[in-house]
Assembly symmetry: C2
Homo-oligomer: 219 residues x 2
């Protein structure tokens, strides 16, 4: 799967340029494995970075606005944002401190985020966001009513200007350091789901659904 | 442990205010469990959010500058930043979609980041950052030489203006939804370390050190 993309001067990877990935399909795979993003925006000259959940619908991101009250105040005409998604894959322990690194996959999307106002679109965006995080859950729960839908804000951000950055694989030491007597290698890191904790007030006969019992982000 | 702190209008939690934690010790515990932050800054009117590693030294953060080349260009006099750290603890599956949530702990630090220029301070900052991420590693590896130290940028950010936000515990549904027939509960999420993968060019007799064999963020 390849879908090459030409970065702008704002999204071209400057540092460690060999880690830059300018491929839409590769970026989407990272976006789809993650479900938490960090949204950056500026208010009164101060940058803010807020963690929130997101989903992807084709070439746009839906970003849950819950955490971004400060941002939403300024949002009538859309607001410049940066949405960054990071998956951490491992600690890379080299022989020199300088060559220590991490394995990770990240995506940065720049653009103007706008609030979704149409109720039908908002409902659909909420469904996509929910299914992005827990596939299968939407049909099992009480759907949002009008009041709840009004109280929910979702932002739309087209995935137009973006880049991905990936570091994977082994330790890379300077040639002269391979004789330095220390252990070197990679410690893999993964996010794992534990045993579901059922709510104390479950109705009788409610079995743990598959998406809770076997929750994973791998596709 | 408590060390109450009065938030500014910029750090007071606006949305879900009951989740705001204004306690320095609680914020530090979150910062110490994490080692990846998302740094936000503004360049030419565009916000950027970059993931990078960090460590804490008392009341300041040391932020690895590797990923922030765009930021560093503007950094002579320091630059306004937002450093956000997020630990994800679980998916909260309620009976209504509206009450779905996540368990998480996050810290937001606002301030002016400055580059460390003094070589001795930079070396010490690098040691603190390294020990923050992998405690015990520093003494086992080849130390940075002058050239490497020059090629490393580390930012200093005082932890002066900050807030923490925490959501923990069970599902909270609207009273009338407890009769809705679906499973509800929490799926815990944790970052776990896998089996260390030794480098292919290890010298004979290099055993896996304890910090790699039993890597954990829990203290």
């Amino acid at each position: 799967m390849s879908d090459a993309y030409t970065p702008t001067s704002r999204t071209r990877v400057v540092r460690e340029p060999q880690r830059g990935v300018y491929d839409r399909a590769a970026a989407y795979a990272i976006l789809d494995e993650a479900f938490i993003c960090h949204v950056g925006f500026t208010a009164d000259g101060q940058p803010y970075v807020i963690p929130t959940s997101f989903g992807r619908n084709g070439d746009q991101l839906y970003i849950h606005g819950s955490a971004a009250s400060r941002m939403l105040r300024n949002l009538d005409k859309g607001i410049p944002v940066c949405v960054t998604v990071t998956l951490l894959d491992g600690l890379v322990m080299a022989r020199s401190i300088f060559n220590h690194s991490m394995n990770y996959r990240s995506v940065v999307v720049l653009g103007t985020a706008t609030l979704i106002s149409d109720p039908a679109e908002k409902l659909e965006a909420l469904r996509i966001l929910s299914e992005h995080i827990i596939r299968g859950r939407w049909d099992d729960v009480r759907q949002p009513n009008e009041k709840e839908l009004k109280a929910t804000s979702i932002l739309r951000l087209p995935i137009t200007e973006f880049s991905a950055k990936v570091r994977e694989g082994d330790v890379i030491d300077d040639e002269e350091d391979y004789s330095f007597p220390t252990w070197a290698g990679v410690v893999p890191l993964t996010m794992t789901a534990g045993e579901p904790i059922p709510d104390a007030r479950l109705l009788p006969g409610q079995e743990v659904p598959w998406y809770a019992a076997h929750y994973t982000r791998k596709r």
